[in-house]
Symmetry: D2
Subunit: 137 residues, 4 copies
Amino acid sequence: MTDKELFKLALKAKDKAYAPFSKFAVGAALLSEDGEVFLGVNVENSSYGATICAERSAFVQAVSKGVRAFSKIAVATSQGEAWPCGICRQFMKEFCDDSFEIISGSDEEHLVTHTLLELLPLGFKLDDECNQIKGKV
Amino acid sequence: MTDKELFKLALKAKDKAYAPFSKFAVGAALLSEDGEVFLGVNVENSSYGATICAERSAFVQAVSKGVRAFSKIAVATSQGEAWPCGICRQFMKEFCDDSFEIISGSDEEHLVTHTLLELLPLGFKLDDECNQIKGKV
Amino acid sequence: MTDKELFKLALKAKDKAYAPFSKFAVGAALLSEDGEVFLGVNVENSSYGATICAERSAFVQAVSKGVRAFSKIAVATSQGEAWPCGICRQFMKEFCDDSFEIISGSDEEHLVTHTLLELLPLGFKLDDECNQIKGKV
Amino acid sequence: MTDKELFKLALKAKDKAYAPFSKFAVGAALLSEDGEVFLGVNVENSSYGATICAERSAFVQAVSKGVRAFSKIAVATSQGEAWPCGICRQFMKEFCDDSFEIISGSDEEHLVTHTLLELLPLGFKLDDECNQIKGKV
């Protein structure tokens, strides 16, 4: 699947965003290594701290279906190009390699791609087994 | 769909939980008013604060598909009966009425049901339009 | 310290809230068992999910100073009486007994008190030692 | 205040961490532009998603006291050098410039410094007034 196709899916997903407080609608389309696409939107909450972004909505949907290996994600917003917040970058770090690609843009003709390593250098990750830090870059 | 059927779906979903840190696996099965079921699992993160519970994984999946009206949710864990954490109760409050039902139990033969009002009395909710508090119980 | 005195401290603290997005300012005054008061405000974030409420701001401040035993908290908002969100109730559950008191009101002459048990029945809590569920009510 | 002095304060603060689940204790020492120091520790929760890291504990304490301008933060952990998680980087982005400094190290003799821009390139931030995205790098 091309970046453009994936972005168009994110753009369409965005219309289902629940963003009554910020009015900032976001859609995300996550591509697994097996070629499956998971769509997510931002879901806000009256207690802002409970808000879940579009990227994480897509990830938990995939994980809930047993999918844990991903190749890229496209993010589309009601206000053009925007890059994942720190929480979502942290979430990606748990499942994705440094080369995982994040795609955004003002529209489908102007897409930009960054790797997870570019957006979250020196990312924090615990080792599953013993809760010790691994992987200092 | 009966409570028992919904709980069995939650029990099965649980096997996909990503819980390397707590080893506490949780599955949730959320029933929409239209009769559709959304399955979620807990997805932990090295930065514990980024963890998303099974209940919220199910909710964001539904919302991402345009579904916002729900009737009940079943929660199954690797350690028997447990009730949603405060974050998830807060998340439910955004979309569900006081009569929304939460089902848990040690196994499918011993289910208990509580309403959202019972688990989150005097819940906090902002009005969408003007961000003013509404709905003091 | 009386409830009224504690509430007045929360009311004053509220003026320092960082709430540019919701415009909903909240102050909290937390009383430890030793009689020390910790003041907190809500701190919002552009990524709404990173927002921390006034109650939790007060708690982490206390814990950072080695204080973990509390008797009551007062909550004052720019829009009158309001009760802690589910996230904050969950946070309290970690450190407080069922009898922990939460105080709010439209003004200092009209205060209402609820216990944590009243606001978070059947609260979720892991056992520190073995991560097993304890304390079903 | 030197980086070394600030780090030593973080190291000492760490002993008050509430980390019964991960056993990963973290202390943070945040220096305001006015030269005031705020100490924070990580505060974990049975519902992992409610956990607040040491860095954010320090920030909300400062904001609760009306302080919103910062120059640097030191982070010390029970397992040596570690860099803030994505959530904390996002939190810093709200109040700090790109040149804000983050200091960590295995011990006080081996400190490393990175700027916020280095750790959170293309960070996400809403404009306070109109909730529109600003500041694409």
